[in-house]
Every structure is written in C-alpha cells, then in structure tokens.
Amino acid sequence: MNWRAVQAIYLFEMARTWRTLLQSIVSPVVSTSLYFVVFGAAIGSRITEVDGVSYGTFIVPGLVMLSVLTQSIANASFGIYFPKFVGTIYELLSAPVSYFEIVLGYVGAAATKSIILGLIILATAALFVPLHIMHPWWMLTFLVLTAVTFSLFGFIIGIWADGFEKLQMIPMLVVTPLTFLGGSFYSVSMLPSGWRTITLLNPVVYLISGFRWSFYEIADVSVALSLGMTLGFLAVCMVMVWWIFRTGYRLKN
C-alpha cells in the first residue's frame, strides 16, 4: 500500500473543503436551518405528532440524510471530475498508486466531509427542536455507511460525466426527487396504500428509515432490511468502481 499517496490525496481534498468553507459547510447549514424554520416551526406547529414525536423532531433524521446524500455525491463527483476537467488527472494516472488507493483518498475525503456536515446539521437541529438519540452507535453506523456509499456513487458520476451538465443531472433529476419522496418529511404509513408499495421501491426510504430508527425507534421498514439495503447499494457501487478502473473507462483512452 502506498499510504503516503492516500494521505496526500485525502489531505489535498480536505484542503479544498477548508478553502471553500462557505460553499462546503455554511450553505448546507443555512438551507437546513430554513427547512427547520419553515417545516418545523411554521408548518410543523399545525401538524399533529407523527408516530409519537413532534413533527419538527420527526424530520431531523430525514433532513440530515438529505444533506449527507447530496453533499456526498457533490463532493466526490466534483473531486474526481475536476482533475479530469483541468487535466491534472495525468499525475494521478502516472503515479505509482493503485485504484484502491485513489478511491480511498477521494472517497474517504468526500465521506469525511459529509459526515462532519451531517453532525453539524444535527447540532444545528438541536437548537430548533428537542433531540434525543436512542442508539448513537447505530446512528453513526448509518451515517458513515450512507456517506461512504454515496461518495462512491458520486465518484462514479464524476468519472462518467464529461461535462458540468452531466455532473449536475443525476443529483438533480434522480437523487433529490428520491430523497424528497423517501420519507424525509413524512412517515410512509401516512401514504395511501398504493403509494406505500411504490415508495418501497425507492432505496432512499430504507436509508432514512434506518437512520430515523436509531433516533426514535420508529421505522417504516425493519432495521435489518435498512441495513441490508444500505450494504447492498454499497456493494453495487464498489463493483462499478472496480469495473471502471479495470477497463480504464473514461480515464484512459
């Protein structure tokens, strides 16, 4: 293992975060705070409790997941797309590093960023609503698993994209809708039965459900299923990354 290379890539990517602090950390925190003001305080006060917790409290895990998903994808896809775009990828390809080391550096940094961000948002949420976490270790497990999985997914998008438009397309047209429809703002049991079945096809439902369970022990699907689906998606992403590097897809012409 070329650990120095992993470290170099990781620190390089983290340095980018601190340089773009406003964009990386402050803006997601501000937008999440707006959600709390609008849904938690303004509208939430008119909504009765959901599954025994107040609406404002109920949406916290979903909002954290929303940010972690989108930021993981954004960080990782941009991290690998940018060197391709400006051409500095030549150095990565000519360096004595394995694909695994490259992924570890980039995905590790992207996941670290979104985990930090998730925790900051959680702390912000605690300012607005009373918060209690029943299974902190499970909460962290889900947070880390989701951050890693979606950073890998973002890495794949970043390699696949050959323009800024494509870079934005999947997050905008696929991930954001799936997250909003994945039970961030409601319990699946609130839906009419037909929609409930359709919703279960949405992988994000399992992520949010498991994450919310670790807070309040309320879930739309069983925790084991949530964990299984998350790990399954992680495995799919790993296989795709492995294939990309094996074939040199979009990296080596």
Binding site: V86, Y90, E91, L93, S94
Partner: protein
C-alpha cells in the same frame, strides 16, 4: 553489465484508439541509461501517445514496455516510481500554493516528506520566491516550471519532457536546459519531444524521428545533423534579373518569379558552404545584392526528404 541494459525498452508497441485510428505501429525503441534522447516528429506523429503509454496514462494495444526491467502493466508501481512526467499542456491546479502542489506530488509518489529537496528543486527552477503564491497568479512560463518541479519532487531516475519549450521565452528556455544538464550529470535519463530541430541539436545525445506512428530512424546526434543540416540563403537583388547567368549554373540557384530574389541551398556540415565564392561570382556577373537572409530546413522539409529517400 547491468548499467549497459536499456533503462526503457519498448518492443512491438502498437496503439489503436477506439475510433480505429492507429496512433502507433510496431514501435521498437531502447533508451540508454543516462542519455538525453530527443524524439522528433511533426504534430500528430505519435510522440505524446508513446510517452503517455510509457507513463501509464494510456493503455497499450499490443507489445510490451519495460522500465528498468519492470513491466509497465504487471509491475506498474516499480516502473512508475522511477518516472517523472512533464506533459505538454499546462495542467495545473489553480488555488493551491506552489509549495503545496509540489509537496503533494512527492506524497503521491510515495516518498517521505523532504522539505530540503523541495526547496532545492524550487530554487533550481527559480520558483523559490513564489513558493507561497497561488498557482493561478503565475505566468505561463512559471506554471510550466511548477510542472517540472512536480515531476522532480520525487527524485525520478527518468524524466519525460513533452514539448518543454513550447511557448517559453529564450531566457527561460536556457534556464531549463541548465536544469536538464544538471539532472543528466546526476545520472537522470531524459527523454524530450520537440518539433524544433535546434532544440534537439542543442541538447540531445541521440535523436529518434517518429512519423505517422512509426519510428523512422534513431541515430546519434552528430550523424543525423549531417543528414539534416540543409540551409537556404536568400538574396534580395537591387534590380530585376531576367535569368540566372550561365556562369552561375553550378550553384543550382533558384530565381523568384518577379526576378528579385535568388535562393541558394547549402550544407552547413559540409567542408565548404560555397557562399563566399557565390557572392564573388555574383559580383563578377554584375548582380548587386540589397539584403540577405538564411533559413534552416524545417522539420517538415526534413521529413519529406527522409520519407522520399530511396
């Protein structure tokens, strides 16, 4: 006799792109340890493709490449850690400092931190006073030197310079050659590509010519320069001339259509260029000259003559 084995060995290398374009065709090339090797060729000849394959940026289609005995695919770590690459295009980060980006390269190649070495590299390339500057604020010439510094950050045994002096001013070019010579003196093998023949002439020990994806020849510099050293002398006449006087037929002069310019081809490497006698014979023939100009054969001309040679 290990030191006599080639440091890079390219055997039957071919590269076909997905589009079906064959960029390299059966390349065989050995680079000797410690030499400066210049790869000459017109645009699109395959120079960059060849370098990209050796350095791991492009996949090869057929053949085998070894670097100091290490196969570039099977043993890529050992092969690549010996190589420093300075690509043709200016690919740099923008918001990092010079120090950070050069240190990053060293880490990427798995070398432990060594601020003293980075400092030396930056000083050699006259970048020391810019070490804390963001790369985006640097001029093009400085950015190119930053790329060289990145390539040297991990103390490579082999340095690839792809068109290193394209768009670089004269002074900087000289400074760069200084660095290259120092590196060679310390035992580094240097491979550079160029389409300026003067550059190869000034720097290289051996020269390879590549055209349309094939190596046309590989020769010691002295031998090649003999072949390629054609120059043209252009004479601007004071008054119009209808035809070249028969007395000057032996010079093979060429008269322009308007009758005001005469061109003479000569060999700089020959014992006699014939210029002195030509000028005196012109005066004897009553032809007065207002100005003169010499030009060297362009590489394109040389290719034409190489390819057409029987």
């Amino acid at each position: 006799m290990l030191s006599m084995s080639p440091i890079i060995s390219v055997a039957n290398l071919s590269k076909t792109y997905g589009s079906g374009f064959k960029a390299l065709n059966g390349i065989n090339l050995d680079i000797r340890r410690g030499e400066i090797f210049a790869l000459l060729g017109p645009n699109g000849a395959g120079k960059t493709t060849l370098i990209s394959i050796i350095c791991g940026i492009a996949n090869l289609s057929e053949g085998r490449v070894t670097v100091d005995g290490h196969d570039i695919n099977k043993d890529y770590r050992a092969a690549r850690s010996l190589i420093g690459l300075v690509p043709q295009e200016l690919h740099t980060d923008s918001f990092e400092t010079v120090w950070a980006t050069v240190s990053f390269s060293r880490g990427l190649f798995g070398k432990p931190k060594n601020p003293a070495h980075i400092e030396k590299v930056l000083k050699d390339l006259s970048l020391w006073d810019k070490k804390d500057a963001k790369i985006i604020t640097l001029s093009g010439g400085m950015k190119r030197r930053v790329m060289i510094a990145k390539a040297l950050s991990h103390e490579p045994q082999i340095l690839f310079l792809d068109e290193p002096t394209a768009g670089v001013d004269v002074e900087l070019r000289k400074g760069m050659w200084e660095v290259v010579r120092t590196l060679q003196a310390s035992g580094v093998t240097i491979i550079l590509t160029t389409h300026y023949i003067e550059e190869a002439e000034e720097m290289a020990d051996r020269i390879g010519v590549i055209n349309k994806g094939e190596i046309i020849l590989v020769e010691d510099k002295a031998g090649l320069m003999q072949k390629l050293g054609k120059k043209h002398l252009k004479l601007y006449l004071q008054s119009k001339v209808e035809a070249i006087p028969p007395a000057l037929a032996a010079y093979n002069l060429e008269l322009s259509e308007d009758g005001r310019e005469i061109t003479y081809d000569y060999d700089t490497k020959g014992d006699r260029t014939g210029i002195t006698s030509l000028l005196s014979d012109l005066r004897n023939a009553g032809i007065r000259i207002s100005d003169l100009d010499t030009t060297q054969s362009s590489l394109e001309d040389i290719f034409v003559s190489l390819v057409r040679a029987p």
